[in-house]
Protein backbone atom coordinates (compact mmCIF):
# COMPACT_ATOMS: atom_id res chain seq x y z
CA UNK A 1 0.00 0.00 0.00
CA UNK A 2 0.95 3.55 -0.43
CA UNK A 3 3.29 4.91 2.16
CA UNK A 4 1.38 8.18 2.21
CA UNK A 5 -1.72 6.65 3.63
CA UNK A 6 -2.84 8.95 6.39
CA UNK A 7 -0.86 8.16 9.49
CA UNK A 8 -2.67 6.93 12.52
CA UNK A 9 -0.45 8.83 14.90
CA UNK A 10 -1.95 12.07 16.09
CA UNK A 11 -0.26 15.00 14.44
CA UNK A 12 -0.25 18.58 15.66
CA UNK A 13 -2.75 20.69 13.69
CA UNK A 14 -0.33 23.55 13.09
CA UNK A 15 3.09 22.07 12.47
CA UNK A 16 6.02 24.40 12.22
CA UNK A 17 7.07 24.48 8.61
CA UNK A 18 10.44 23.20 7.47
CA UNK A 19 11.93 24.95 4.46
CA UNK A 20 11.00 23.21 1.20
CA UNK A 21 13.34 22.97 -1.75
CA UNK A 22 12.85 21.30 -5.12
CA UNK A 23 15.34 19.37 -7.23
CA UNK A 24 14.27 18.94 -10.84
CA UNK A 25 15.94 18.06 -14.11
CA UNK A 26 16.06 15.56 -16.96
CA UNK A 27 16.01 11.80 -16.44
CA UNK A 28 19.29 10.50 -15.11
CA UNK A 29 21.00 13.86 -14.65
CA UNK A 30 21.89 12.98 -11.06
CA UNK A 31 19.07 14.35 -8.89
CA UNK A 32 19.04 11.37 -6.56
CA UNK A 33 22.84 11.22 -6.60
CA UNK A 34 22.92 14.86 -5.51
CA UNK A 35 20.54 14.14 -2.64
CA UNK A 36 22.65 11.13 -1.63
CA UNK A 37 25.71 13.35 -1.59
CA UNK A 38 23.99 16.17 0.30
CA UNK A 39 22.44 14.10 3.08
CA UNK A 40 25.73 13.32 4.90
CA UNK A 41 26.73 16.98 4.61
CA UNK A 42 23.49 18.10 6.25
CA UNK A 43 23.89 15.41 8.86
CA UNK A 44 27.36 16.73 9.75
CA UNK A 45 25.91 20.21 9.97
CA UNK A 46 23.19 19.00 12.31
CA UNK A 47 20.34 19.88 9.98
CA UNK A 48 17.19 17.77 10.18
CA UNK A 49 16.20 16.70 6.67
CA UNK A 50 13.44 14.66 4.99
CA UNK A 51 12.93 13.76 1.32
CA UNK A 52 9.92 13.41 -0.98
CA UNK A 53 10.46 11.59 -4.28
CA UNK A 54 8.17 11.73 -7.32
CA UNK A 55 9.11 8.54 -9.04
CA UNK A 56 7.37 8.01 -12.31
CA UNK A 57 6.32 4.39 -12.18
CA UNK A 58 7.86 2.80 -9.14
CA UNK A 59 9.19 3.86 -5.77
CA UNK A 60 12.71 3.23 -7.10
CA UNK A 61 14.33 6.45 -5.89
CA UNK A 62 12.50 6.36 -2.56
CA UNK A 63 13.62 2.76 -2.02
CA UNK A 64 17.18 3.59 -3.03
CA UNK A 65 17.32 6.38 -0.45
CA UNK A 66 15.63 4.28 2.22
CA UNK A 67 18.13 1.47 1.74
CA UNK A 68 21.12 3.80 1.55
CA UNK A 69 21.56 3.95 5.29
CA UNK A 70 22.19 7.69 5.08
CA UNK A 71 18.68 8.69 6.18
CA UNK A 72 16.01 7.25 8.46
CA UNK A 73 13.72 5.39 6.00
CA UNK A 74 10.67 6.97 7.65
CA UNK A 75 11.93 10.35 6.48
CA UNK A 76 11.53 9.38 2.82
CA UNK A 77 8.06 9.56 1.24
CA UNK A 78 7.15 8.64 -2.33
CA UNK A 79 4.42 10.50 -4.20
CA UNK A 80 3.01 8.94 -7.37
CA UNK A 81 2.77 11.44 -10.17
CA UNK A 82 -0.05 9.78 -12.15
CA UNK A 83 2.19 9.92 -15.24
CA UNK A 84 2.36 13.70 -14.90
CA UNK A 85 5.74 14.73 -13.48
CA UNK A 86 5.16 18.35 -14.54
CA UNK A 87 1.71 18.56 -13.00
CA UNK A 88 2.66 17.21 -9.61
CA UNK A 89 5.29 19.91 -9.05
CA UNK A 90 3.62 22.80 -10.82
CA UNK A 91 -0.05 22.85 -11.87
CA UNK A 92 -1.29 20.64 -9.06
CA UNK A 93 1.35 20.14 -6.37
CA UNK A 94 -1.27 19.23 -3.76
CA UNK A 95 0.02 15.71 -3.15
CA UNK A 96 3.55 16.97 -2.68
CA UNK A 97 2.31 19.69 -0.33
CA UNK A 98 0.45 16.99 1.58
CA UNK A 99 3.59 14.85 1.80
CA UNK A 100 5.68 17.76 3.07
CA UNK A 101 2.95 18.66 5.58
CA UNK A 102 2.96 15.05 6.74
CA UNK A 103 6.74 15.07 7.24
CA UNK A 104 6.50 18.36 9.12
CA UNK A 105 3.93 16.83 11.40
CA UNK A 106 5.78 13.56 11.93
CA UNK A 107 9.20 15.03 12.69
CA UNK A 108 9.13 17.93 15.10
CA UNK A 109 12.16 20.14 14.53
CA UNK A 110 12.39 19.21 10.87
CA UNK A 111 14.28 21.95 9.06
CA UNK A 112 14.47 20.99 5.41
CA UNK A 113 12.29 18.97 3.04
CA UNK A 114 13.90 18.10 -0.29
CA UNK A 115 11.42 17.29 -3.06
CA UNK A 116 12.90 15.38 -6.01
CA UNK A 117 10.90 15.71 -9.19
CA UNK A 118 10.48 12.72 -11.46
CA UNK A 119 12.93 12.86 -14.34
CA UNK A 120 11.43 15.19 -16.89
CA UNK A 121 12.45 17.54 -19.67
CA UNK A 122 13.93 21.02 -19.82
CA UNK A 123 10.50 22.67 -19.49
CA UNK A 124 9.79 21.46 -15.97
CA UNK A 125 9.65 24.10 -13.27
CA UNK A 126 8.53 24.06 -9.62
CA UNK A 127 5.54 26.01 -8.32
CA UNK A 128 6.43 28.42 -5.56
CA UNK A 129 3.27 27.16 -3.83
CA UNK A 130 5.27 24.01 -3.20
CA UNK A 131 8.88 25.07 -2.67
CA UNK A 132 10.71 28.11 -1.39
CA UNK A 133 13.64 27.62 -3.71
CA UNK A 134 14.67 25.07 -6.31
CA UNK A 135 17.60 23.50 -8.10
CA UNK A 136 17.67 22.24 -11.67
CA UNK A 137 20.21 19.51 -12.39
CA UNK A 138 21.55 18.94 -15.90
CA UNK A 139 24.57 16.86 -16.75
CA UNK A 140 27.52 17.08 -19.03
CA UNK A 141 26.72 13.76 -20.69
CA UNK A 142 23.33 15.11 -21.80
CA UNK A 143 25.17 17.36 -24.21
CA UNK A 144 27.13 20.59 -24.05
CA UNK A 145 24.36 22.38 -25.93
CA UNK A 146 21.73 21.94 -23.21
CA UNK A 147 22.14 25.47 -21.76
CA UNK A 148 21.82 26.99 -25.23
CA UNK A 149 18.37 25.40 -25.61
CA UNK A 150 17.19 27.80 -22.89
CA UNK A 151 14.69 25.45 -21.29
CA UNK A 152 12.49 27.11 -18.65
CA UNK A 153 14.00 24.79 -16.02
CA UNK A 154 17.52 25.93 -16.86
CA UNK A 155 16.53 29.59 -16.96
CA UNK A 156 14.16 29.89 -14.01
CA UNK A 157 15.73 27.74 -11.31
CA UNK A 158 17.37 29.42 -8.33
CA UNK A 159 20.49 27.31 -8.73
CA UNK A 160 21.59 25.45 -11.84
CA UNK A 161 23.75 22.40 -11.15
CA UNK A 162 25.81 21.05 -14.04
CA UNK A 163 26.62 17.52 -12.90
CA UNK A 164 28.93 14.71 -14.03
CA UNK A 165 31.76 17.09 -14.90
CA UNK A 166 34.07 14.06 -14.56
CA UNK A 167 32.55 12.75 -17.79
CA UNK A 168 33.30 15.81 -19.95
CA UNK A 169 36.44 14.41 -21.57
CA UNK A 170 34.68 11.14 -22.34
CA UNK A 171 31.66 12.65 -24.08
CA UNK A 172 33.43 15.31 -26.11
CA UNK A 173 32.09 18.26 -24.15
CA UNK A 174 34.07 21.45 -23.66
CA UNK A 175 33.13 22.04 -20.02
CA UNK A 176 34.35 25.63 -19.82
CA UNK A 177 32.33 26.58 -22.88
CA UNK A 178 29.24 24.80 -21.51
CA UNK A 179 29.49 26.60 -18.18
CA UNK A 180 30.15 29.91 -19.90
CA UNK A 181 27.05 29.48 -22.03
CA UNK A 182 24.99 28.45 -19.00
CA UNK A 183 26.11 31.59 -17.17
CA UNK A 184 25.21 33.71 -20.17
CA UNK A 185 21.70 32.32 -20.69
CA UNK A 186 21.01 32.66 -16.95
CA UNK A 187 22.11 36.27 -16.89
CA UNK A 188 24.57 35.54 -14.13
CA UNK A 189 22.17 33.65 -11.80
CA UNK A 190 23.87 31.06 -9.59
CA UNK A 191 25.37 27.96 -11.14
CA UNK A 192 27.59 25.20 -9.78
CA UNK A 193 29.50 22.41 -11.52
CA UNK A 194 29.49 19.13 -9.62
CA UNK A 195 30.50 15.51 -9.79
CA UNK A 196 28.09 13.91 -7.36
CA UNK A 197 29.65 10.48 -7.35
CA UNK A 198 33.10 11.83 -6.64
CA UNK A 199 31.72 14.35 -4.16
CA UNK A 200 33.03 17.38 -6.01
CA UNK A 201 31.45 20.74 -5.06
CA UNK A 202 28.73 19.20 -2.91
CA UNK A 203 29.64 21.44 0.02
CA UNK A 204 29.08 24.44 -2.23
CA UNK A 205 25.58 23.20 -3.12
CA UNK A 206 24.85 22.69 0.58
CA UNK A 207 26.14 26.21 1.30
CA UNK A 208 23.83 27.63 -1.36
CA UNK A 209 20.83 25.79 0.13
CA UNK A 210 21.69 26.94 3.63
CA UNK A 211 22.18 30.54 2.53
CA UNK A 212 18.90 30.53 0.61
CA UNK A 213 16.52 28.85 3.02
CA UNK A 214 18.33 28.02 6.27
CA UNK A 215 19.91 31.38 6.88
CA UNK A 216 20.13 30.80 10.63
CA UNK A 217 22.69 28.05 10.13
Amino acid sequence: MNDLSPSRQPVPPHPANAARIGIGGPVGSGKTALIEALLPVFQRRGISVAVVTNDLVTAEDAERLRRSGIIDPARVLAVEAGACPHTVIREDPTLNILAADELDARFPGLELVIIESGGDNLASTFSLDLVDWWIFVIDVAGGGDIPRKRGPGVLQCDLLVVNKVDLAPHVGVDLDAMLEEARAVRGGSPLLATACRAGINIEAVADAICAAVLIRR
Partner: protein
Amino acid sequence: MDASALLLALRFGDTAFPSGGFAFSQGLEGLGAVSGARPDTDAIAGFLTEQVRHRWGSAERVTLVQCHRGDGDLDAIAALDHDLDLSSFSEPLRLGARRNGAALLATHLRLGTPGAAAYRARVADGAAPGTLAAVQGLLWRASGLDEASAALLAGYQLVTGGLTAATRLGLIGALGAQQAMPALLATVAAVCAEPVASDAEPVGFSPFSDIAAARQARLPLRLFSN
Protein backbone atom coordinates in the same frame (compact mmCIF):
# COMPACT_ATOMS: atom_id res chain seq x y z
CA MET B 1 -28.71 26.30 -12.24
CA ASP B 2 -27.93 29.97 -11.93
CA ALA B 3 -24.81 31.53 -13.36
CA SER B 4 -22.86 31.61 -10.12
CA ALA B 5 -23.54 27.93 -9.36
CA LEU B 6 -22.49 26.97 -12.88
CA LEU B 7 -19.29 29.00 -12.64
CA LEU B 8 -18.51 27.56 -9.22
CA ALA B 9 -19.01 24.00 -10.50
CA LEU B 10 -16.80 24.75 -13.50
CA ARG B 11 -14.13 26.16 -11.21
CA PHE B 12 -14.07 23.16 -8.87
CA GLY B 13 -14.41 20.68 -11.72
CA ASP B 14 -11.55 22.11 -13.74
CA THR B 15 -8.15 20.40 -13.52
CA ALA B 16 -6.79 23.92 -12.96
CA PHE B 17 -8.23 23.58 -9.44
CA PRO B 18 -5.46 21.76 -7.56
CA SER B 19 -6.80 18.77 -5.69
CA GLY B 20 -4.40 15.95 -6.44
CA GLY B 21 -7.12 13.96 -8.20
CA PHE B 22 -5.08 13.30 -11.32
CA ALA B 23 -2.84 10.82 -9.49
CA PHE B 24 -5.69 8.37 -8.73
CA SER B 25 -7.11 5.83 -11.18
CA GLN B 26 -9.57 4.29 -8.66
CA GLY B 27 -8.42 0.83 -9.66
CA LEU B 28 -8.56 1.37 -13.42
CA GLU B 29 -4.80 0.82 -13.71
CA GLY B 30 -5.38 -2.73 -12.43
CA LEU B 31 -8.13 -3.49 -14.93
CA GLY B 32 -5.83 -5.11 -17.48
CA ALA B 33 -4.36 -7.38 -14.83
CA VAL B 34 -7.85 -8.59 -13.90
CA SER B 35 -9.22 -9.13 -17.39
CA GLY B 36 -5.96 -10.51 -18.74
CA ALA B 37 -6.27 -8.29 -21.79
CA ARG B 38 -5.65 -4.71 -22.68
CA PRO B 39 -8.91 -2.96 -21.77
CA ASP B 40 -10.72 -1.41 -24.74
CA THR B 41 -13.16 1.47 -24.66
CA ASP B 42 -16.08 -0.80 -23.77
CA ALA B 43 -14.19 -2.38 -20.89
CA ILE B 44 -13.25 1.04 -19.55
CA ALA B 45 -16.78 2.36 -19.90
CA GLY B 46 -18.13 -0.77 -18.20
CA PHE B 47 -15.69 -0.38 -15.34
CA LEU B 48 -16.65 3.26 -14.82
CA THR B 49 -20.35 2.51 -15.10
CA GLU B 50 -20.07 -0.05 -12.33
CA GLN B 51 -18.26 2.46 -10.15
CA VAL B 52 -20.76 5.23 -10.80
CA ARG B 53 -23.81 3.06 -10.19
CA HIS B 54 -22.76 0.63 -7.53
CA ARG B 55 -20.03 2.33 -5.56
CA TRP B 56 -20.15 6.08 -5.97
CA GLY B 57 -23.90 6.41 -6.53
CA SER B 58 -24.98 4.29 -3.59
CA ALA B 59 -22.16 5.10 -1.18
CA GLU B 60 -19.99 8.18 -1.80
CA ARG B 61 -22.82 10.22 -3.26
CA VAL B 62 -25.01 9.45 -0.26
CA THR B 63 -22.31 10.61 2.13
CA LEU B 64 -21.55 13.69 0.05
CA VAL B 65 -25.20 14.77 -0.03
CA GLN B 66 -25.69 14.14 3.69
CA CYS B 67 -22.51 16.00 4.57
CA HIS B 68 -23.66 18.85 2.36
CA ARG B 69 -26.93 18.91 4.32
CA GLY B 70 -24.83 18.89 7.49
CA ASP B 71 -24.14 22.55 6.72
CA GLY B 72 -20.88 22.79 8.60
CA ASP B 73 -21.91 20.65 11.62
CA LEU B 74 -18.54 18.96 11.98
CA ASP B 75 -19.68 16.33 14.49
CA ALA B 76 -22.43 15.16 12.16
CA ILE B 77 -20.10 15.24 9.17
CA ALA B 78 -17.41 13.27 11.00
CA ALA B 79 -19.97 10.58 11.88
CA LEU B 80 -21.06 10.29 8.23
CA ASP B 81 -17.41 10.30 7.19
CA HIS B 82 -16.74 7.33 9.51
CA ASP B 83 -19.74 5.44 8.15
CA LEU B 84 -18.49 5.73 4.59
CA ASP B 85 -14.94 4.79 5.55
CA LEU B 86 -16.15 1.71 7.44
CA SER B 87 -18.40 0.69 4.58
CA SER B 88 -15.54 0.67 2.05
CA PHE B 89 -14.38 -2.90 1.64
CA SER B 90 -11.41 -2.24 -0.62
CA GLU B 91 -8.34 -1.02 1.22
CA PRO B 92 -6.69 0.77 -1.73
CA LEU B 93 -9.93 2.55 -2.55
CA ARG B 94 -10.59 3.36 1.10
CA LEU B 95 -7.12 4.77 1.71
CA GLY B 96 -7.23 6.51 -1.66
CA ALA B 97 -10.49 8.21 -0.65
CA ARG B 98 -8.82 9.47 2.52
CA ARG B 99 -5.79 10.73 0.68
CA ASN B 100 -7.95 12.37 -2.00
CA GLY B 101 -9.94 14.02 0.77
CA ALA B 102 -6.79 15.16 2.56
CA ALA B 103 -5.53 16.73 -0.67
CA LEU B 104 -8.78 18.61 -1.26
CA LEU B 105 -8.72 19.77 2.37
CA ALA B 106 -5.11 20.95 2.02
CA THR B 107 -6.08 23.18 -0.89
CA HIS B 108 -9.19 24.60 0.78
CA LEU B 109 -7.22 25.16 3.95
CA ARG B 110 -4.89 27.43 2.02
CA LEU B 111 -7.82 29.12 0.29
CA GLY B 112 -9.42 29.79 3.67
CA THR B 113 -12.69 27.93 2.99
CA PRO B 114 -14.76 27.96 6.21
CA GLY B 115 -14.53 24.66 8.07
CA ALA B 116 -11.42 23.45 6.22
CA ALA B 117 -8.98 24.22 9.04
CA ALA B 118 -11.20 22.78 11.76
CA TYR B 119 -11.93 19.61 9.80
CA ARG B 120 -8.31 19.13 8.85
CA ALA B 121 -7.43 19.30 12.54
CA ARG B 122 -9.92 16.50 13.20
CA VAL B 123 -8.41 14.39 10.44
CA ALA B 124 -4.91 15.08 11.75
CA ASP B 125 -6.03 14.00 15.23
CA GLY B 126 -7.49 10.79 13.86
CA ALA B 127 -10.99 11.95 14.88
CA ALA B 128 -12.28 11.76 11.28
CA PRO B 129 -11.04 9.76 8.28
CA GLY B 130 -11.51 12.66 5.86
CA THR B 131 -12.89 10.69 2.93
CA LEU B 132 -13.19 12.59 -0.32
CA ALA B 133 -17.00 12.47 -0.38
CA ALA B 134 -17.39 13.86 3.14
CA VAL B 135 -14.84 16.58 2.48
CA GLN B 136 -16.54 17.50 -0.81
CA GLY B 137 -19.89 17.81 0.96
CA LEU B 138 -18.42 20.00 3.68
CA LEU B 139 -16.28 22.25 1.51
CA TRP B 140 -18.55 22.64 -1.48
CA ARG B 141 -21.45 23.59 0.78
CA ALA B 142 -19.21 26.09 2.55
CA SER B 143 -18.20 27.47 -0.84
CA GLY B 144 -21.83 28.05 -1.80
CA LEU B 145 -22.40 25.17 -4.22
CA ASP B 146 -25.93 23.74 -4.02
CA GLU B 147 -26.56 20.07 -3.17
CA ALA B 148 -27.60 18.93 -6.65
CA SER B 149 -24.65 20.61 -8.34
CA ALA B 150 -22.26 19.21 -5.75
CA ALA B 151 -23.40 15.64 -6.43
CA LEU B 152 -23.25 16.10 -10.20
CA LEU B 153 -19.79 17.62 -9.95
CA ALA B 154 -18.43 14.71 -7.93
CA GLY B 155 -19.92 12.24 -10.42
CA TYR B 156 -18.47 14.19 -13.30
CA GLN B 157 -15.03 14.14 -11.68
CA LEU B 158 -15.20 10.38 -11.17
CA VAL B 159 -15.96 9.86 -14.86
CA THR B 160 -13.50 12.38 -16.22
CA GLY B 161 -10.80 11.22 -13.78
CA GLY B 162 -11.24 7.64 -14.96
CA LEU B 163 -11.15 8.58 -18.62
CA THR B 164 -8.08 10.80 -18.28
CA ALA B 165 -6.36 8.01 -16.36
CA ALA B 166 -7.21 5.65 -19.25
CA THR B 167 -5.83 8.21 -21.68
CA ARG B 168 -2.56 8.53 -19.77
CA LEU B 169 -2.31 4.75 -19.57
CA GLY B 170 -2.50 4.76 -23.37
CA LEU B 171 -5.68 2.66 -23.38
CA ILE B 172 -7.79 5.20 -25.25
CA GLY B 173 -7.23 8.50 -26.99
CA ALA B 174 -8.64 11.84 -25.88
CA LEU B 175 -11.23 11.60 -28.65
CA GLY B 176 -12.18 8.07 -27.67
CA ALA B 177 -12.60 9.34 -24.11
CA GLN B 178 -14.97 12.03 -25.31
CA GLN B 179 -16.93 9.46 -27.30
CA ALA B 180 -17.42 7.41 -24.14
CA MET B 181 -18.36 10.47 -22.11
CA PRO B 182 -22.03 11.09 -23.05
CA ALA B 183 -23.27 7.67 -21.92
CA LEU B 184 -21.27 7.86 -18.71
CA LEU B 185 -22.53 11.33 -17.92
CA ALA B 186 -26.08 10.17 -18.62
CA THR B 187 -25.49 7.48 -16.01
CA VAL B 188 -24.25 10.11 -13.56
CA ALA B 189 -27.37 12.19 -14.21
CA ALA B 190 -29.65 9.17 -13.77
CA VAL B 191 -27.95 8.15 -10.53
CA CYS B 192 -28.11 11.71 -9.19
CA ALA B 193 -31.83 11.84 -9.94
CA GLU B 194 -32.39 9.22 -7.24
CA PRO B 195 -33.17 11.05 -3.99
CA VAL B 196 -31.01 10.54 -0.90
CA ALA B 197 -33.09 9.87 2.22
CA SER B 198 -31.97 11.58 5.39
CA ASP B 199 -31.39 8.20 7.04
CA ALA B 200 -29.84 6.50 3.98
CA GLU B 201 -26.70 4.44 4.63
CA PRO B 202 -23.75 4.28 2.24
CA VAL B 203 -23.90 0.82 0.67
CA GLY B 204 -21.45 0.33 -2.17
CA PHE B 205 -20.99 -3.04 -3.83
CA SER B 206 -18.56 -3.10 -6.73
CA PRO B 207 -16.50 -6.28 -6.43
CA PHE B 208 -14.96 -5.93 -9.86
CA SER B 209 -13.56 -2.48 -9.04
CA ASP B 210 -12.37 -3.74 -5.68
CA ILE B 211 -10.48 -6.60 -7.31
CA ALA B 212 -8.99 -4.29 -9.93
CA ALA B 213 -7.86 -1.92 -7.18
CA ALA B 214 -6.31 -4.81 -5.25
CA ARG B 215 -4.45 -5.89 -8.37
CA GLN B 216 -3.31 -2.34 -9.04
CA ALA B 217 -1.83 -2.12 -5.55
CA ARG B 218 0.34 -5.13 -6.36
CA LEU B 219 1.53 -4.11 -9.80
CA PRO B 220 5.32 -3.88 -9.99
CA LEU B 221 5.02 -0.72 -12.09
CA ARG B 222 2.36 1.80 -11.15
CA LEU B 223 1.74 5.26 -12.49
CA PHE B 224 -1.19 5.95 -10.18
CA SER B 225 -1.70 6.15 -6.47
CA ASN B 226 -4.56 3.63 -6.61
